[in-house]
């Protein structure tokens, strides 16, 4: 032994111990990596978006637990890697990089706001990752590395407006496009503006209004809607996001605007958002989605049962009051599809899995056989319009006969009408006007 002084000796031993444990750690972690398939979950668990995104993380973990209970995939268990981008858009990109490079995840489920998706997009494209995006969005995008399981505008906004134009929906002639001031409402309203124009609605019959994030005083806006609506049947299309919905609907109720006179159709209000609201003044107003918790199908019954059991087992906050909603269903469908594709491809190799996902079908809780479009990476989805009830659930007033195909690029905006999203041969492109090959 070279170390004579006990102090030196002990430090040497500590060092050796450290090195040894480090080596052991590396060995064990690589060994573990060989045994499991890592799945990244990229949802904000703190900050302003935590309200909506926490449930998506929970439902993703539930789906993974379900797959593991059946023995996992390819003989391996799935291992979820949950990171928290904290409602901070640049942090989304950093965390995405961490998931792909450090954790080497096979797939990532995540993002809610469009701005967070736009922030991680370059990372997934650069590192050839695979992202499932589960929320309805404004379209005008198709990426080789992203699968969109939420609705494109033609699977939500356009049918909702068509319904309000119909006799049953009130035959609206004037339109208020009301939204929070950011990319999703602005783009959606741009599409709707062109769409309404194509339906012969004059410019003076469209009122477009935006409010800042967190706006809480809707007195003037509601009074303006009232004035604008005078004389012609009017409908309000609301892309108001999150928290501002409560003061908006409260003001509507207090100023005596009834759903039968001026219906409001919302694109961002679901069961989860209604949990924090006094729903009495909202009854009769509408929301357009692809799934409602009130869907009466055996698939939905078992989906809700699984969710309730999961909430109870893991003692999640909210307990028995927890609900399911559209983005949760989309997350669940996404994980199921990915799992099927991995089984079919026989590997988790991203290129092989991507090839296998196109054309996968899943029997969804909404009661339809849902297909992933191989060409534009979007789901074929049914559209349902529901009326808000006093218990915070929706009653379906209109729905499509079957799933409809998403239009990644809106045909109503002249500059994007020419673009094609098609990832199959000979196009192999997300935003081209001509085929590549």
């Amino acid at each position: 032994m070279r170390c004579l002084k006990s102090k030196q000796c002990s430090s040497f031993i500590t060092l050796r111990f450290l090195i040894l444990s480090f080596v052991l750690f590396i060995v064990s972690s690589t060994a573990q990596a060989a045994e499991t398939i890592k799945v990244g979950i990229l949802h904000s668990l703190s900050g302003t978006m935590a309200i909506s995104e926490t449930s998506l993380k929970d439902v993703a973990l539930m789906a993974i637990e379900e797959i593991n209970a059946k023995g996992g995939l390819l003989g391996k268990k799935l291992e979820p890697v949950v990171v928290d981008p904290a409602s901070n858009w640049p942090l989304f990109a950093e965390k995405a990089r961490e998931l792909i490079q450090k954790h080497k995840v096979s797939v990532t489920f995540g993002c809610w706001t469009s701005v967070s998706r736009k922030s991680v997009l370059p990372v997934f494209e650069e590192l050839n990752g695979l992202l499932f995006y589960p929320v309805q969005y404004e379209g005008e995008e198709s990426s080789y590395n992203v699968f969109y399981t939420g609705a494109a505008p033609n699977q939500q906004a356009i049918p909702a407006v068509e319904y309000l134009m119909s006799e049953d929906g009130g035959g609206a002639k004037r339109w208020v496009l009301l939204g929070t001031d950011y990319v999703y409402p602005r783009t959606t309203n741009k599409i709707l503006n062109y769409f309404l124009k194509s339906k012969g609605v004059a410019k003076k019959d469209i009122m477009e209004t935006y409010t800042p994030f967190g706006h809480s005083d809707y007195q003037t806006i509601v009074a303006n809607i009232k004035k604008f609506a005078a004389g012609k049947p009017t409908a309000v299309v609301s892309t108001i996001n999150g928290d501002s919905n409560v003061p908006f609907y409260k003001e509507l109720g207090n100023q005596g605007l009834k759903a039968e006179d001026i219906p409001v159709v919302a694109f961002s209000v679901g069961e989860e958002e209604l949990r924090g609201m006094d729903t009495k003044p909202l009854v009769g107003h509408l929301a357009a989605w692809n799934y409602f918790m009130s869907a009466k199908t055996p698939e939905n019954k078992s989906f809700i049962k699984k969710w309730k059991a999961y909430v109870k087992k893991h003692k999640l906050p909210g307990g028995s009051k927890r609900v399911t909603n559209d983005p949760m269903e989309a997350t669940y469908i996404g994980i199921k599809m990915w799992a099927q594709a991995v089984q079919q491809a026989g590997t988790t190799n991203i290129d092989a899995v991507r090839q296998a996902i196109g054309g996968q079908t899943v029997q969804s809780p909404s009661g339809f056989k849902i297909t992933m479009d191989a060409a534009n990476h979007h789901l074929h989805k049914p559209v349902v319009i529901g009326e808000i009830q006093e218990d915070g659930q929706f009653e379906v007033v209109w729905k499509t006969k079957g799933p409809i195909r998403a239009q990644a690029w809106s045909p109503f905006i002249p500059e994007s009408a020419k673009k094609v999203a098609d990832w199959t041969y000979p196009w192999v492109c997300g935003n081209c006007e001509k085929a590549k090959f």
């Binding site: 001031d181 935006y210 409010t211 809480s216 005078a230 004389g231 207090n254 007033v397």
Partner: protein, 561 residues
């Protein structure tokens, strides 16, 4: 109480006759002329019964037909069923019987026979109505209510009918007009007729209609009038008669003049309301920051704690005192005040008192406290917003002018803020504690020399400021969200109000809040919400440049330092 079927039918006939005096007269005439009462009412009753049965229809189209027919029959006996259908309290049993569920939801009676039924033993389903059914329902209910004894009910019904005029309505309205004595209701009737009269072939009638609209009409008629003066693509007038065009444009300008004043009055109220809310949010800060000089970043969280205290009181009432649920706000006032005040005092004793005179450290420490408070609320109540219901007396509003509704909740908040400001003012100006507070804020050493325990005064003042913020939170819970981030929304506005008004003066805070409210609400219709907010900030920056001490400055040597 179990009612006999025949007895109920008799009662229905009685109420039927009582409610419909005009109809009774009409009926009496018939009676004298030829036909007996009995066969006529029998025929009508049969018709009514079959139409009522139609309300249980599964198909919405057939349901609408049934509702329309009930409206045309106009028998008040159908009213309970129609209203129940609208409120989703009408249900259909398996054998097609219509059951009206009462408000409590525990009991029900048959809509046709009036017999009490045990709703638990039946397999009931709700007819599925949507907005298009509701529109038809409103018209049918309006038509029946036109014959009510209560002029208020008739007025509401007439207004409902004015929204959706139709040619068959004209006959009904003309008939009712002769028997109507209430001027307000007559006014609406005239408008209904005028709206239809615009499309008439008779020029005289159209001119008359225009006159009526110019006299009584509101914004709702603008579209109809504008159609009369519009040109088509080739530049030709759509309306051929120049006299009609001239009268129509006159009517438009008279409508616009009236609308202008209404708009200004409405903006004034909106400004007052926004100002009162800003004032409630900022008043607590005016005490902790304005008087004590503590840059209190945790002020917003005191608002939030007040709102959550209200939520807890509401839940306790829901659980243990459901019969007094609507009055939960009264005990919530002292509780919200006390909870926030106690938390404020704890913070002052443990943290803030060690930082007096060190503004930067105070800023950081209070900001840290605010994060801790937000996260603790998240842990206790969850990240989700919680639901604070408006009691019935705070829902809805009063229509003061045509189309301008002042919500009760906002009116009550304005009254509430007057009380709170008066109480704070009285406390500071009229009590010995207030005197000590003012003495300490003006010259701490001197006050201490005079035997005032400055530590105690600091503690009370901070508690008062936090408590008042708690009251602000209670008021905010009635108009907006209650969530962990509630305070973050108001903290910037609160500082703006206090700094703009002048630090250290309650009256400055009042002026600052109302000023900001008015500027905001008069700018918003012109500039829109986003640009309006930016313009308000620019105005505040300019004002502070010109008057760094704020609108109302402290005078004296202390202020000069």
């Amino acid at each position: 109480m179990k009612k006999d079927g025949t007895l109920h039918k008799y009662q229905r006939l009685k109420t039927n006759l009582k409610n419909r005096k005009p109809f009774l007269r009409f009926l009496g005439l018939f009676l004298f002329l030829a036909v007996g009462l009995f066969p006529l009412s029998l025929v009508e009753a049969n018709d009514l019964d079959s139409a009522l049965r139609g309300l249980g229809n599964k198909s919405r189209a057939k349901l609408k037909v049934a509702v329309k027919r009930l409206g045309d029959i106009g028998n008040p006996a159908a009213l309970p069923a129609l209203v129940a259908l609208k409120n989703k309290r009408l249900q259909v049993s398996e054998d097609g019987a219509l059951i009206i569920i009462d408000e409590s939801g525990d009991h029900g009676h048959d809509a046709l026979s009036g017999k009490q039924v045990d709703i638990k033993s039946l397999d009931l389903s709700k007819p599925r109505i949507n907005n298009s059914v509701r529109r038809v329902l409103s018209v049918a209910i309006g038509k029946i209510q036109l014959t009510s004894d209560d002029p208020e009910v008739r007025l509401g019904a007439a207004r409902e009918l004015l929204k959706r005029p139709s040619s068959d309505l004209v006959v009904l309205v003309e008939k009712s007009l002769n028997e109507e004595s209430d001027d307000k209701v007559r006014e609406i009737f005239f408008l209904v007729l005028a709206k239809e009269g615009l499309n008439s072939d008779d020029k005289e009638k159209r001119l008359q209609s225009l006159e009526v609209i110019a006299k009584y009409g509101n914004n709702d008629f603008k579209t109809d009038l504008e159609a009369l003066v519009d040109k088509n693509e080739k530049g030709e007038y759509l309306e051929n008669d120049p006299e009609i065009r001239k009268t129509a444009s006159k009517a438009i300008s008279s409508l616009e003049r009236r609308q202008f004043f209404i708009n200004q009055a409405a903006n004034f109220f909106y400004g007052l309301s926004l100002g009162s809310i800003l004032l409630l949010a900022a008043l607590g800060l005016a005490i902790t920051f304005g008087l004590m000089g503590v840059i209190n970043m945790a002020h917003g969280e005191m608002l939030m704690i007040g709102a959550y205290s209200t939520f807890v009181v509401q839940n306790i009432f829901k659980e243990y005192l459901p019969e007094f649920f609507d009055w939960y706000l009264i005990p919530a006032i002292p509780i919200a005040f006390t909870v926030s005040a106690v938390i404020g005092i704890i913070l002052e004793r443990t943290i803030i008192r060690h930082l007096y005179g060190r503004p930067l450290e105070t800023l950081l420490a209070t900001w840290g406290i605010s994060l801790v408070l937000i996260q603790s609320i998240r842990l206790i109540f969850g990240a989700q917003n919680v639901e604070v219901a408006n009691p019935y007396y705070l829902s809805g509003g009063v229509e003061v002018m045509n189309g301008v509704v002042f919500p009760y909740s906002r009116i009550v908040i304005i009254i509430f803020v007057v009380f709170v400001v008066a109480a704070v003012w009285a406390l500071l100006q009229k009590t010995s504690l207030g005197l000590q507070v003012r003495a300490v804020t003006q010259n701490r050493e001197m006050a201490s020399c005079m035997g005032i325990s400055t530590h105690k005064v600091d503690m009370y003042t901070f508690g008062l400021g936090s408590g008042v913020a708690g009251l602000g939170g209670l008021a905010l819970s009635q108009i907006g969200n209650v969530g962990p981030e509630l305070g973050q929304l108001y903290i910037v506005d609160s500082f703006m109000v206090v700094v703009l008004g002048g630090v250290g003066k309650i009256v400055g805070t009042v002026a600052g809040a109302l000023g900001l409210g008015f500027i905001n609400k008069f700018l918003e219709p012109v500039a829109g919400a986003v640009l309006g907010k930016i313009m308000v900030l620019v105005i505040v920056i300019v004002l502070i440049q010109k008057r760094p001490q704020g609108l109302f400055a402290l005078k004296g040597r202390m202020a000069d330092n």
